[in-house]
Symmetry: C2
């Protein structure tokens, strides 16, 4: 059975995307990198980022190789005898293992390219701001677009080529797991790195020595800038790469399992159409993203914030239109009932995308400084440190409600339209325009860095103000992206859960007929699942706190041992700070990484695969609550502080401002470390469950060792 | 079929308990209430507490009457035709409605008696401290024991008499729902009241005017003292009353549903034995509690903290021994297999109690100032406000893990021993010695108030130090009680969930065969359930914050308009502050109360009763995470602050101390409002589901209006 040729649209879009990424890179590189001081600062950032990436990729390489070896020895999904017999036959699961390596290397390459351009674009964007807002915007936006296009391009090429070579979604699952392993390291590690530097720099620099943000005398300033690149560009990129691929694979696996539509058997041709449909949607989404990027560039000269949002809306509409055409094309040769299903799936993809937009804008509402929540938090700062914390925390909790309703409505409608496959397609639809989303998101840290370089390079107040304007547009885009990313991860892991169950039943009929909360092993699985995001958040926040404390000591040591740093006569030792953040973030990664793989496996072994399903469901639901709460509380605190710094409620230097800084500092690891890492954790755990399913079936046929 | 006479042991224990409570009350009243100033302060507290209770009970009365009317019109569980037909027949469900009123009034009476003695005991305990530690301890402890004994006595008498009159557990369910309605008001309302006053007093008094704790010049001091009584005595008492009765009723309903043991049919006699077993266990537990109280009194002269803990241990051992005897008695006349089941149930009750002790001591570990978590939080305060918050929050999250393991182990073992009935009996066992637990807990606010009265009554440093020693023992007891209460509520609501399912199937066979997370309506129910505790926490924390902010304004107004208050020449206007706390707490109760009843009903109506079961399961699991996290984080912050105030890390007045105060203030609504209210919320929602089950069955036979 030949794979439908329409999959080529995805491959084509992926290749165009990579070509455009390389073209944008050359556009950025051609720009003027600014004066000597700016280039020096940019050089520090670049070398810091490279040091981090080198060490990170080294450890990650070992991790990936170890996991690959593990994969080799688990039962291969390509064989009919998927469990014990296969294992003792001595045959190796090399197909999934190779796909795994390709996924990991692909994600690493995309991340590297994006970050490499990011650290080149920052100083050029700063220099661009000396000419015009438009110039600065263009450079930063093209720099960010490189990341967005690289991520989507590599992912789509990988998925479509692998599936054309071996038309079994399980191989793509290996690819997805590879991308996830990288995301775990890049997102959590980057999150710890960036906040170690940020919190450390703020605690000593701002609070003790009253240095302004980004002051070159602060030894942690460069580490902070590096953190923006490794955490916010490479981390967010690998996170969305991860969700993107995972959503495709979940939908493909559910499509592959389609046997009946109503009472009519699905023909092989139709089934292939359904399997390929998610890849085609992503290809269409990438085309929409490219057009969205073009629109942003064209609108960018007016208002940067509006331009970014218009691009997102435009990509949505364009996606809906082109997907309509492709869906129509794909119905050729299908029966009437199959055609009806395909149209329902099309509707699911659009609903998914709309729900993503709604989620993004809810999180925008809860974190914008012209809306009630952030205003109230800023006002609470007038009553001191404790009240601003209580206010932000409770708004964070409250902000969970609207996206919950959004997700539930989307899930209910898409389920009614096309069952669990419909939910999976909604996740694909949500992630289809991820190219635009990542581009907008990566724009943020570039302009953030540009502002810092403008400050350190002495470009003057006018240029800094221009950079500030670009930065503020970046923050809005970032808030939307985060809501979007959480929604995407949520729907994706639901889809993965369903595909996990489908796969278990495919290996042995009736393995998971129900995941019944009235069974004690299921209840226990769900219980552990609900607790896991709390544990994970605790570990990550503690990691930041521990590392930031080391950073604080180092900054104090430098100021005390060499008073000339504070007077600006001698430069601070930036490398030492980068070193602390790098090594610390890697060390702190060990336990969360082990947990995210060992806990699902242990539950599967002890309580059985159905309990593992309940564990995943519990983790998804509670993870959603924690992720949304922490991201939005953190964002709102950040913007409440900025609102006060803009001169409201007394402005800078007041007690109110100090309280707002406390809120922002608490929010830092919430919104940039723990919150977004939960997405990755959920995807990694879900994929671990699916990948090791054949292995887990060896324990009492998937019932687990402890039978109740 | 006659109810087994052994139930009389419970009635007997209940009556003894009430007699002892009244006797202890007279003991307390006979003590010297101290000097005029002390009596004046105590008078203010008493009148404040009475004002609050009067208004609270008035609103509560209306709420209870409205709910009673609703109950009248739902299908009665005593009829065979439990659903629609019954409703249109026009017959009223007066049995449950009457039981409901009795439960509500009983809980209100117990709460009133406990609080009435509490506000009398405080000044007497303070005066006792001028004689000896022992004297002070005795008065406070007897005062607390009145609450403990009244709660358990009223509950046991109510349950046993009702069941003897109408031997149908559904009637006791009405009683339980009545107790729950009261708990919802007393716990949430009291929690908001006490923290409004506490946070308000701290924010202005301590932070702005540098007044010491309990300074009589602070207008909110009396409100703070009143809050201890209404929140910590009456609130905690009604909370445990609620869990206590709910655990009994859940076990009774599951016992009533026992049809088979293995393959052997259960005889009617045996079934009655099983139904009555939880009541008997509670009777035994009450006897053990009385002996425990005796031991505490006897040991009290040495070290108050050790005495309280020894009492808890002793009650545990005594319970295990007496229950052994009664279990042996109850096996008379049973078959061999029935006897084996009864012994297994005995084991379950002991395991439940042991797990409660373990939970209590875990929460003690995470909040004690001589253990690592609290020490680390205190050290984090050296790095500022933000770091102390991050540290406490992450330890709070981490502290969820050990009790999760404890509960899971207890659930797994008891389930293996005797199925869901075993889990329910574990909850009963856990709550059996609640008399000792509530006594120890109510001791806390009495000595806290005594310390305040000693300060305001000018009894001198020595007496204050004695009172401080008693107070510190109270704090340890309180930490243990909280862990205990959370564990109790958790197991209880699990048991209620199982009894809810049993009842649904009893009304119509096959209504809830499974609660399958793979069905979309179930997943949606679970999703909403997981989110609800977050919403509830947000509302309660915001309530405290809003009210505290009003309190702050009032305190500032008083200081500004009358400078003589600050010099101590004129007394502050305490009543105004009490009024703000009272009215605010009632107003803020409205939305949470509606949510706790309307949300479960809406889910049942829209998505069906199985989805409602999933909703409850989701709420239980995520509620557990939130309750443990908030209680322990709050306790740890509190003790970290006290540790610093004891002279460590620089002591009072330093920046470190200020940061620790921020932690404590954030922790206040965490540990005393939101955290413990979640227990009550869970019980109310679970009981709502059970009570309105017949009504919910009217919507598509329990499938809900929206069928997927």
């Amino acid at each position: 059975m030949a794979v439908p040729l329409i999959i080529l649209v995805a491959l084509f879009a992926g290749i165009v995307s990579i070509i455009l990424a390389l073209y944008f890179r050359s556009l950025v590189m051609k720009e003027d990198p600014g004066n000597e001081k700016m280039q020096e600062v940019a050089g520090y950032i670049e070398s810091g980022a490279k040091t981090y990436i080198k060490l990170q990729y080294k450890v990650l390489g070992i991790f990936v190789l170890v996991l690959m070896c593990l994969l080799l020895f688990i039962p291969s999904p390509l064989e009919k005898s998927k469990t014990y017999e296969r294992l003792i036959s001595g045959a190796l699961n090399w197909e999934q293992a190779v796909a795994y390596i390709i996924g990991a290397v692909g994600s690493m390459m995309a991340g590297y390219l994006g970050m490499y351009v990011g650290v080149k674009a920052n100083t050029r964007a700063a220099q661009g701001c000396t000419i015009s807002t438009k110039k600065g915007f263009d450079v930063a936006f093209f720099g960010g677009a490189v990341m967005g296009l690289a991520v989507v391009g590599v992912a789509l090429i990988g998925v479509s080529v692998l599936y054309m070579l071996v038309p079994d979604p399980n191989i793509v699952l290996g690819f997805s797991f590879g991308a996830s392993s990288v995301a775990l390291f890049m997102k959590c590690g980057g999150g710890i790195f960036t906040k170690t530097a940020d919190v450390g720099a703020d605690l000593v620099g701002k609070a003790e020595y009253d240095l302004p943000e980004d002051d070159p005398r602060n030894p942690a300033t460069i580490a902070d800038n590096v953190g923006d690149n490794v955490g916010d560009i490479a981390g967010m990129g690998s996170d969305l790469f991860d969700s993107y691929v995972a959503s495709i694979i979940a939908a493909m696996m559910l499509g592959a399992a389609l046997v009946l539509i109503g009472d009519v058997a699905v023909s092989d041709e139709a089934r292939y159409t359904f399997i390929v449909f998610p890849i085609v949607l992503c290809g269409v989404g990438l085309i929409a993203s490219l057009l969205g990027i073009y629109i942003i560039k064209w609108k960018g000269s007016e208002d940067p914030g509006t331009a970014l949002n218009t691009g997102t809306y435009a990509a949505t509409v364009i996606f809906a239109l082109i997907a309509l055409v492709f869906t129509a094309l794909m119905t050729i040769g299908l029966t009437a009932s199959e055609t009806a299903v395909l149209w329902k799936l099309y509707a699911c993809s659009v609903i998914g995308l709309l729900s993503g937009i709604v989620l993004g804008f809810t999180s925008d509402y809860f974190t914008r400084d012209d809306k009630k929540p952030t205003r109230n938090i800023a006002e609470a700062a007038q009553e001191g440190h404790a009240v601003v914390i209580l206010s932000g925390f409770s708004y964070g909790l409250l902000s969970v409600v609207p996206p919950t309703i959004g997700i539930i409505v989307a899930m209910a409608i898409t389920y009614l339209l096309a069952g669990v496959f419909g939910v999976a397609i909604a996740a694909v639809g949500l992630l289809a325009i991820v190219g635009t989303i990542v581009s907008n998101d990566a724009y943020g840290p570039i302009v953030d860095n540009a502002r810092s370089i403008a400050e350190q390079g002495g470009l003057g107040d006018d240029v800094i103000r221009t950079a500030d304007r670009l930065d503020s547009a970046g923050n809005t885009a970032k808030a939307i992206t985060k809501g979007f990313a959480i929604g995407a991860a949520n729907l994706t892991v639901f889809a993965l859960l369903f595909s996990f169950v489908t796969e278990a039943n495919d290996i042995k009929e009736g393995t998971i007929e129900v995941i019944d909360l009235l069974s004690i092993n299921i209840l226990i699985g769900a219980f552990i699942g609900v607790v896991i995001p709390a544990l994970f958040s605790a570990l990550l926040i503690m990691a930041v706190q521990r590392n930031a404390s080391k950073m604080v000591k180092e900054i104090r040591r430098q100021f005390e041992e060499n008073p000339k740093i504070l007077t600006g006569e001698e430069p601070a030792d930036f490398n030492k700070c980068i070193d602390i953040a790098t090594k610390g973030s890697l060390r702190e990664l060990i336990i969360p990484s082990i947990i995210s793989i060992a806990v699902p496996l242990s539950i599967g072994i002890i309580f059985g695969v159905a309990s593992l399903g309940a564990f995943l469901a519990g983790a998804i639901l509670s993870g959603f609550v924690f992720a949304v709460m922490m991201s939005n509380a953190g964002g709102a605190w950040d913007n409440a502080k900025k609102y006060i710094e803009d001169g409201h409620l007394g402005g800078k230097g007041t007690e109110t401002h100090k309280a707002a800084i406390t809120g922002d500092t608490v929010g830092d690891p919430f919104k940039d470390t723990a919150g977004p890492s939960i997405n990755t954790l959920l995807v990694v755990m879900s994929l671990t469950a699916s990948i090791f399913l054949g292995f887990l079936m060896m324990f009492n046929g998937g019932m687990g060792l402890l039978v109740f």
